[in-house]
């Protein structure tokens, strides 16, 4: 790891200012950033920790649904969202291992937008709103491909507002080594239709499976998917699974998520 300066602001304004510095990098739980720095693959000159800002932490019901502060660790979401949005809580409780869940945060996860991370599927499938220090961004506009988001330089996520669906479930199939999602599917049924968010599989990051959403909006059952096919052309391929295999997983796991949602 190279040397760096460290700032830990206690207000949003201080954080925004600190992030203006040359080579500044926001730090939340550090579960991706710190290992990357230890390998000298990243060398920010200033790390700006966001976890000391009280208003970025916590889970509560509010306008538009469940508000999750960006610096809220996964383990807290797993516990505190359970009564309000059990599928989201279950997803948070299945990320990584206990150490990762105690430090890693939702804001860090969706700012990084790893194509195999769990949270982006829930944010997208829930039609959530990503709130930053300067604006609100709909989930459909926020995720823009591998490790790419709508965030501008120096902009940081402050919270995510999740509309609460009638039914929902997340089913993840682990990549055997990293235990990230080789494919993960989040299905959310709202009064006005069903949304399906898929992580791990797409070669351009998290995506919605539109055909499945249409079929499930008409008939919320696994059998509604039977005639559908996922095109392997849009799928990722690596050591752990071909594009065709991931396309199969998208369909199988969507069906299982629908069944789990009940």
């Amino acid at each position: 790891m190279h040397n760096f300066d460290f700032a830990k602001p206690s207000t949003l304004a201080e954080a925004a200012k600190a992030l203006q510095a040359d080579g500044a990098q926001a730090l939340s739980g550090g579960q991706t950033l710190i290992p990357t720095m230890k390998q000298r693959l990243a060398a920010p000159s200033v790390l700006v920790s966001l976890t000391g800002i009280a208003e970025l932490r916590g889970v509560c019901l509010g306008d538009g649904g469940l508000h999750v502060g960006a610096a809220t660790p996964h383990a807290v979401v797993a516990k505190e969202a359970r009564a309000h949005y059990p599928a989201l809580a279950a997803l948070a409780g299945g990320i990584g291992d206990p150490a990762v869940r105690s430090r890693g945060t939702i804001g860090g996860s969706i700012a990084n937008n790893d194509p195999a991370a769990c949270y982006p599927s829930a944010v997208l499938a829930s039609g959530a709103t990503v709130v930053t220090d300067r604006r609100r961004i709909s989930a459909d506009d926020y995720f823009q491909g591998l490790f790419t988001t709508a965030l501008k330089d120096g902009e940081f996520v402050t919270s995510v507002i999740f509309p609460i669906p009638q039914k929902a479930a997340y089913v993840k199939f682990n990549q055997p080594a990293s235990r990230f999602a080789l494919t993960g599917v989040f299905v959310a049924k709202f009064a006005n239709g069903v949304r399906v968010g898929v992580t791990g599989a797409g070669n351009d990051g998290v995506f919605r499976w539109a055909e499945a959403e249409r079929a499930l909006s008409a008939d919320f059952s696994a059998s509604a998917l039977s005639g559908l096919k996922v095109d392997p052309a849009g799928m990722n391929a690596d050591l752990h699974g071909s594009a065709a295999y991931r396309a199969n997983l998208v369909k199988v796991l969507t069906g299982r998520a629908v069944t789990a949602a009940g």
Partner: protein
Amino acid sequence: MPKDHGIGAATKRREDVRFLTGKGRYVDDINRFGQTYAVFLRSDVAHGRIKRLDTAAAAAMPGVLAILTGDDFKGMGGLITAWQVTDRHGKPQLEPRHPVLAEGMVRHVGEPIAAVIAETEAQARDAVEAIEIDIEALPAVVDMKAAVEAGSTQVHEGLGSNLCFDWGFIEANKAAVDAAFQTAHHVTTLELVNQRMIPNAMEPRAALAEYDSGTGQYTLTTTSQNPHVIRLVMGAFTLNIPEGKLHVISPDVGGGFGSKIMNYNEEACLTHAAKVVDRPVKWTATRSESFVTDAQGRDHVTKMQLALDKDGMFLAVRTETYANLGAYLRLFATVTPTYLHGPAAGGPYRTPLFYVNVKGVFTNTVPVDAYRGAGRPEGTYQLERLVDKAAREIGMDQAEIRRKNFVRPEEFPYQTPLAVVYDSGNYHATLDKVLEMSDYAGFEARRAASAKKGLLRGVGFSTWVEASGLAPSQLIGSLGARAGLYESATIRVNPTGGITVFTGTHSHGQGHETAFAQIVADQLGIDASLIEISHGDSDKTPFGMGTYGSRSAAVGGSAIFRATEKVIAKAKKFAAHLLEASEADIELADGQFTVAGTDKSIAWASVALAAYVPHNYPAGSMEPGLEETAFYDPSNFVYPAGAYVCEVEVDPATGKVEIAAFFAADDFGNVLNPMIVQGQQHGGIAQGIGQALMENGVYDDEGQLLSGSYMDYAMPRAEDLPMFAVDHSCITPCTHNPLGVKGCGEAGAIGSPPAVVNAVIDALHRGGHSHVTHIDMPVSPSRVWSAING
């Protein structure tokens, strides 16, 4: 004698007190005054020519004390290999120079090019980044079959070939074997890959080198399974340091699995560097370095055939294997795929004819060497997959085909057609035991229950035998070994009766400190708490060969047994004198020397004290002291054997395999400590399941290791494994060592992979996917799904 401390007692491991309370002392825990740090510049290409290497700017960086490159080692020896394999044409193996630091060429990713020695680790790392280097990348050769084709890129220019050896075992049998295939009733053919494994010991390799410029004495503290071997080969062949000037210590070591047998570039480099900077130098591998520098395992591509008669009796086996050696030969590189692999083609069967051909191939990949089981897992996997396929093809039950072909209990000692003699065994007994443990008869009901959940259930067998307990020196010498493989022990009785046992083996997870004390406690009838085990220090222990090849109990334990016998013989002289009796009348039981047939006795501790207080010995008749050394050279290998059954559930929609149950019935001969043995069974099976289902060292065409971190290299975790049911009650004692022990360290890793893969194939067949005849390891979800849908 306290029964809970002797041979056969499930004594808790004394070493666990320090390991579990954070008091273990590993190389990286040790720090010296004035210590400096080494960081290595490593090749990021698999094959290339170093056009420019300029260390001037780096040498001027803060804290930098020295930068070593290949030029600093040019006049010295390279890293040697311990076995001379002669190939089927009578040619010796090709042995390219293996430099400590690259000399103009790099031949695998991770090869060390330069070492920076600096005041701090961070300064050394900064300076490594400042070294100016220009490597002209050359085409890499990764695929073994391509490597031996004419016109292929040469890993070592000037060597003439990438084919290190083309070994036939036994060459004289070839014609008879081929003839048997001509006339066989049925021939089963299987082509398979035994994938590259990366050892992943929990503790990364580390070294701390010191030099005393006042005495010329070097001290190397290193993560080794065999400190005396390191002292010998590094001192004599690489750095030209006589043994007396080189002290090698292996303190607590966190797992080896074979990868810490070898003498490594970093150890030699640091030892030399300590003299150059005249200060202690430390290096601890990062996990990323471990992935590209620890000797890797397996990596065989094999075509194998079995000839059967109309009754399912095996007539002949022939194999052709390409064995990847990587870019350089490490210590056991050539014996692992040959003499440790070839005899495994016999297995527990009476097959009369064998021919094993192995082509050892250089590639631009990390060197391959011994990895838990070393050759025997590869041979066992091939054979047990082949037998499984043969049984399917001829429609015979998997247990039946094995039972029918087993060496029979009354045939021991059994001269195999593959040069070795199985001294004892009862393969029928272990098979019967595992069938009972696994309720084989009730399998169909379990299969039906799985089917109700939409899962395909299968059952797989593996019956195996290994030649371990390395090794009878005369035999291996005749086969090309450049060293003997005896073991040593010194028993030092202290004046108040306590004992220190010095063993040439090394414990890095095996529990020697507990089990070896049980041997001596059993012989003397004293409490094991009076006995300390000292290992891992070349200045303390007699010359010994270390721990690998399931040899520590069978060979090292036997040396301890023999040395203790010598101690008892001498102690009886003292006892006879003290009891005023004839030496022949002295008996030792429960820590008391007694004159036979009388009530005259004296305690062990009193005899020990008398040995060191020679006030009233008869003049000139007795030598004071009570300390004896024995070297034990086994007359044969030992032959642990077992029968394993694995049941799996396969999810046909995702291809995911769950191990539903795993049963192991092993014959390890006599058992010193059943709790430790069961732990070894568990660990070995877990490692074998890791290979069967998860682990995979994959290189791309440019020689880059694609699975070079835990993001892509899948290690098994507790959640991936069932509770194992293990048994070692079927005992046929080894007939040629004094303890009757065989060895258990590698068994699980040898026997389990084929049981798992056979179970998956069985599940697919029973589930209607009988077109799937084989899936290569790791049997990952995507591979199973592709096989079903392919």
